[in-house]
Every structure is written in C-alpha cells, then in structure tokens.
C-alpha cells in the first residue's frame, strides 16, 4: 500500500484535498442518470400497484398454493438479506483488519447494505397473508419462533447499518451543506438537518471514529446472525433440502460472495459514469476485490459441496427425490447454470491477472449476482415441489410465479436500486476525509481543510 502513502507537505496535502472535494462532490444527473432513475421509479410504482391488488384479492394473485406456499417473495428476501451482508464485510471486517485500500468502497457497500436490508424487511411483509396484523408480533410475539428472531435481527442490523453509514457521512453532509451552490432550498435544508450542525472539530471526529470502531465490532456478529437466522427459517423444518445443519454457514458464505459481487458492480458503474472516480476506484481495487471474490467463491464452493454431495452420497428416500430433480430433473438446467456461472466460472476467470481487469471483473460480478438470485430460488422452491403429493390439482405441484408476482418482486429490486441511485445523487459516495486519511494526509490538515469549507 506504499503507493497511497506519500510523505506530503501541508501545501500539497491541501491541494490534494481540494482535488478530492472537486472530484467527489455529488452532482446532477445527466440524461442517462435521469432515465435510469425514472425507470427505477416506474418499476417501483408498478410493484406498489400490484401489491395493492394483492392486498385486495389476497395472495391468490401469486403462483403460490398450498404445496408450494413460499415463492419468489421469500427467495428474493433471502437474496436481499444475502447482499446486505456486504456492508459488514467491507466496512467492518476490512476496517478492523486495517486494510488500507478499503476507504473508497466502504460507503458504497454500506449503502447497498442499507438499501437491501430495507427491502428485505418490506418484501417479507409483502409475503404475509395478513400484513394488517403485524402488530401481533409485538402483542403476542413468541420468542420460540425463528421468525421473531429474524424480525429482531433484521431490525437490529438495519439500525446498525444506518448508523455505520451515517457516522462517517457527517463530514460529507456538512461539506455538501457548505459547498454545494445553486441547489434547491429543500436540499440545503436536508443537508443542514442531517449534518447535525457538524463543524469539523477534532472532538467531533474523535467521536465519529470511536463510533465507527464500536459499530464495526458490533455489526459483525449481528451480520452473521442475520443470515444465519434467515437460514434457520428453512433449517428448522423437516423438509428435505432444508433440514440441514450446514445451512447457516452455507448461507453466510453465499451472502459474502454475492455481496462482494454487488460492490464490484457498483464500483464499475460509478467509474463508468463518473470518470473522475478512477483516481479513487483504481484498477488495483478491482484486482483486490476480484481476489477476495475468488476466495469467497472457494469458501462457497466448499459449503455447497457439503450441502449437496453428502446427502447425494446417502440418497435418503426424500432427499433423493429432491436431489434428482436438481441434478438431472426439472430444475437441472437452472441448478447447473448457477453452480457453473455463479461460482466456478468467476473463480477461474478471476484467477488470471487479465481476468481481474475492471471490465471482466464487472462481468463476473454481474454473473455472480444474477446466479445468486436464482440460487435462492433453487434453495426455496424445489423443496416444496417434490414432496410426494396426491389429491391436488396438477398445477399446484409446480410453481411458476405470476406476472404480478414478478412485478412486485421486480418493484422491490427497483426500489433498492433507487435508494442507492438517489444516495449517489445527493451524497458523496466516496468519503473524502477517509480517503485523505488513508493517503497519509494528517488529521489536523484534513479537519482544518474540511472546516474551511464551512467558512466559505
């Protein structure tokens, strides 16, 4: 990491800080940005509209029935929870390990985490038959139920993620408040409110740093819990394919993989649309993230082998129906696609130096994300489809999501992307003061410079 840490005299340092601020202040979207935002907004509204239909008519508008009673809402929930885990990976783990290249990507990963966990919470409400009775969870909650654990841990993780996003963002918000000119009044007021009157005093920075350390330590067990408890929603039943002691570790490892994919994709897109960012999100960052992804894919492969091959070796009666459908039956094309393109291909491509260039890394990351979504589908649905069932309409044995169900699910994905997009539009997605610190500029200079922004 030597190349980041140069000995700088104060004048150079201030010059650099000026440069950073110039590059990294949020700015108005161009035509692509606006179209993208509009697209997401329409997608989100379509989802809401379909959801009102569901509220009126009941879950009958979905493809779910008594035998396949959980569908893409639940698999999408698992996907959201998985991808939200990245916040803790990049921010907390890399922070505590003092990894020096983490600063430019922490905020991106935290925003992804907050957006994903928010919509994880929302999509699980969408799956409820009686969302109007949610208060029963408080009035009559049973601590014995994994759902209550999940509700608590999702709420806790959401709170911690928001705080972990917010504390390091304070100087950035204050900077926007002071430096952004010609912005609407509401935007100014929003910055002013959110900045808590931040004035870059060393005491304030001390508190922020303390809070980040506390948060980094606290969020790691909570993050592990959130996905482990989500896996328990399945593992605590008797169904073949879910009844597994491997599930917690399997889910967590998969979550790290898709989360890192999310960050890589975000990094690439930011660089693509903000050319100035390539000074901060360097090729080296892609290289390092790609190596991390190889490691995570290997860990995931390890748990996947545990999950599928050992039951397949025994082929217990019920397991064999399920596994045969995955390996050679109805779900085989999807199953092998996600294993190969979502795990093995990225693992191999990213082993090569040329494979770790930004574009191939981005492509691998997108593959990982798409496959991860379908992997969750394969974890949730087939288990219910292939129980020996009789006396039910043929249509109930196989599940295929309805259009409205897809639109609601798509709406939730659009909503999460909308949060990330709007964040990029209004807040500095790369933290100036953290980068400056990482690049060896002394605290005193940073605080003073950021403060001088206030005066202007």
């Amino acid at each position: 990491m030597e190349k980041y840490k140069k000995e700088l005299n104060d004048a150079d340092a201030i010059e650099l800080l000026h440069q950073y601020n110039e590059d990294l202040l949020p700015r108005k979207f161009g035509i692509i940005g606006k179209t993208w935002t509009l697209f997401l907004f329409i997608g989100f509204l379509t989802g809401i509209y379909c959801y009102t239909n569901q509220l009126k008519q009941g879950l009958v508008i979905t493809g779910m029935r008594d035998f396949v009673f959980w569908g893409i809402y639940i698999s999408n929930f698992v996907f959201f929870v998985a991808i939200s885990l990245v916040g803790s990976l990049i921010t907390a783990i890399l922070y505590l390990l003092r990894i020096s290249w983490r600063a430019p990507i922490t905020r991106l990963s935290e925003v992804i985490a907050v957006a994903a966990i928010t919509f994880a919470g929302l999509i699980i409400i969408v799956d409820m038959g009686r969302p109007d009775r949610m208060v029963n969870m408080i009035l009559h909650g049973r601590i014995q139920s994994p759902i209550i654990w999940d509700v608590m841990v999702v709420a806790t993780y959401m709170m911690l993620s928001i705080l972990l996003l917010y504390f390091p963002l304070l100087p950035g918000i204050a900077f926007c408040r002071d430096r952004l000119n010609g912005i609407p009044k509401w935007q100014k007021r929003m910055y002013s409110f959110l900045s808590l009157g931040w004035k870059n005093s060393p005491e304030q920075y001390k508190i922020v740093k303390k809070a980040i350390t506390i948060l980094s330590i606290t969020i790691i067990p909570v993050a592990l819990c959130i996905h482990t408890v989500t896996s328990w929603l399945f593992a605590s039943t008797y169904r073949p394919g879910w009844d597994s002691t491997n599930f917690g570790a399997y889910f967590v490892s998969g979550a790290f993989l898709v989360g890192s994919g999310g960050v890589i994709a975000g990094m690439y897109l930011l660089r693509r649309f903000y050319p100035a960012y390539d000074k901060y999100l360097t090729d080296d960052h892609f290289d390092r993230m790609a190596k991390l992804m190889v490691l995570l894919a290997m860990v995931y492969a390890y748990f996947s082998i545990n999950e599928y091959l050992i039951p397949a070796y025994k082929m217990k009666g019920e397991d064999s129906e399920h596994l045969n459908e995955l390996f050679t039956g109805y779900y085989a094309p999807m199953f092998w696609s996600v294993q190969i393109f979502g795990m093995i291909v990225p693992m191999i491509v990213l082993l090569f130096k040329n494979g770790r260039k930004p574009l191939p890394t981005f492509i691998m990351a997108v593959l990982v994300i798409i496959c991860a979504w379908f992997k969750r589908y394969l974890i949730v649905i087939p288990t219910m489809s292939f129980l020996p069932v009789q006396e039910i309409p043929e249509a109930w044995k196989h599940y295929s999501p309805t259009l409205q169900e897809w639109l609601i699910t798509g709406g939730s994905l659009a909503g999460a992307l909308l949060i990330i997009t709007l964040f990029v539009r209004f807040f500095p997605i790369i933290s100036v003061w953290e980068i400056a610190e990482e690049r060896g500029i002394s605290e005193g200079v940073i605080y003073k410079h950021m403060h001088e922004g206030n005066e202007k």
Binding site: G129, R142, E394
Partner: protein
C-alpha cells in the same frame, strides 16, 4: 318460540334470538332461512327485535324466527385452554378403509370448507413396487410436540391442555411458517376470500369451529372441538360407514368409533398400533392400526372421486 323461552327473561331471550340469527348458520344443518319460509306457522303477533347478519336491527314477528339451537361458540380465550381433564386421541384402522371418502365429505360440509381447502385427505399409499397399496386417511396429527406451534411467531396456532392443536384465524398473520414446519403437510391456506353459503355470513368466529375462515390465514383439521365439548364424536368418526376412525380420551384409556367402544391400550396391543413418522419426535395424537387382514380388497379410486380430483 314462546314456549321455548318461557323461563328465560326478556334479555336472555333477545340474546338468544340474536345469537340464533348470527350464528345459527354455523350449526350442522344451516337451513334456518328455508325453514322459516316454508313454515306454516301463523304470525303470532308478537314483535321482537333481532339483529340481522348485516348488522341491522329489525323488528320481526316472533313467529318468523325459526327455532334453532343456541350457539355453542366458545370464545378464543377459552378455546386456548381446552376441555379440562381430557387428552384426546384418535385411532385410524387402516384395515377398514376403502376410500369411501364419507369422512372427507362430512368434514368439508360441517366445517363449511370452500375452494381447495381439504382438512382430511385420504392418500393411496404404496411404499415400494413390491409392497401392497392401501388407503391412508390423514387428519391433523395434533402432535404433543407440535413443530407448527414451535415456529408460530404470534401464538396463532397453539397446543391446548387437552392435546388439541388449533388455529386462531383472528390472530394469524399468514406467514405460513407453520405449513413449512408441519412434516405431515396437513395445513391449508386461504389464498383468497373464502366463499360461504349466504346463511353462514356473520357467524360468530371461534377457533373451535374455525368458521368463518378468513383470507390470508392458515387452517387445518381441528378434531371438531365444538362437538367434543358437547361430548359428541367428530364428524369424520360418525360419517365413516366402516368404523375406521376411533376417538377417545387417553386419560380414560377408551376410544369409540360410534358403534364399538374399546380400551385404547388393548386396541394398540391387539392390532399393533403405531404413529406416523415416529422418528421425527413430534409425538402425534393420531394412532394407526396397520392395514392387515383388510375388510376390502384394494381398488384404485374412481377418477374425480376425491374432493380435489373433482376440481382438477
């Protein structure tokens, strides 16, 4: 009407009338409306106020109100505790079942089940090519260590002291975790607003009848606790022409299928009773007698006979 209520004071009679109108439809026959119409009783001239199903207060001639049994609706709080001193068990004799499906018919009718919701299913069982097929009626197992109750986040499904597992569909949030947890797949979900006969509308809900069903909630076989409270056998037991189902109280060591009453322990001993999936440790309250020395040769079901086949 006059005679029936002559001992009651005015308030209780009104109450009775209101209840009759509100919940009379729950009762077995559910034909009050028709009876009233085709009755040849003359107007008695006495006017009484009754609450109609849609909540309006109307004044009608007392002769217009059909006699019907007062509601036995048990409030939710009481339905959570159960019938004191009892521990209900069911015994299903597989050697007698010939897939007559009278149990299912009765169950559907008395619980007013609509759509695809079937509480009592009868499966053709054939474990492997070389083993013989037989019919297996499958109600809720009312497990003593119920996995469905374990996972319920809001105590909407619960285990009572008398061994019955019920669902309170006024509390259920519709997460369907219980359906995932049940290893016997006995639970159904109301994917849409259930359809009822019109006279059932406005019936007073009790978890003991499970009626009226509600959109977005889970339901299942309930062992007919409203019948048990009256000391009567569940509908599937009485409907079966072959005496397949026995119901009884484990504390009394006695089960009855209506025509025969036998000692439970002796029945288990003599016929080699067992429970389904004992390996899961759920401890069901439903026991099976093996399909040996069968009364009927196995015949495959006629297509369209089952409740669900019919609507395929």
């Amino acid at each position: 009407m006059k005679e029936d209520n002559s001992q009651d004071n005015k308030t209780t009679r009104k109450d009775f009338l209101r209840k009759s109108l509100l919940s009379g439809g729950v009762l077995a026959s559910g034909v009050i409306g028709i009876n009233k119409l085709i009755a040849d009783e003359k107007d008695s001239g006495e006017k009484v106020k009754v609450l109609t199903a849609d909540g309006k207060l109307v004044e009608v001639d007392s002769g217009n109100i059909s006699k019907c049994q007062a509601s036995t609706t048990t409030p939710s709080s009481e339905a959570r505790i159960g019938i004191p001193g009892k521990k209900y068990v069911m015994v299903i004799d597989l050697s007698r079942c010939k897939h007559a499906l009278k149990c299912q018919d009765a169950c559907q009718r008395y619980h007013h089940l609509s759509g695809m919701n079937v509480w009592l299913k009868v499966f053709k069982m054939q474990d492997s090519e070389n083993t013989a097929p037989y019919w297996l009626p499958k109600p809720c197992m009312h497990c003593d260590k119920p996995p469905c109750v374990k996972v319920c986040p809001v105590s909407a499904t619960y285990k009572r002291e008398d061994g019955i597992v019920l669902v309170d569909n006024e509390r259920c949030i519709g997460c369907r975790f219980c359906m995932a947890a049940c290893p016997y797949s006995t639970r159904s979900f109301n994917w849409q607003e259930p359809e009822f006969l019109s006279e059932s509308k406005g019936a007073v809900y009790s978890p003991e009848t499970g009626f009226p069903q509600k959109k977005g909630t889970v339901e299942k076989c309930d062992f007919c606790p409203d019948m048990l409270r009256e000391g009567k056998l569940p509908h599937c037991v009485t409907a079966c022409p072959n005496g397949v189902f026995y119901m009884g109280d484990l504390n009394e060591d006695t089960v009855s299928n209506g025509s025969e009453t036998v000692r439970f322990s002796q029945l288990m001993n003599d016929k080699g009773g067992y429970r389904l999936n004992e390996i899961l440790g759920t401890e069901p309250s439903v026991y099976y007698l093996p399909p040996v020395s069968r009364l009927f040769p196995f015949k495959d079901a006629e297509p369209g006979k089952g409740k669900m086949d019919a609507s395929e």
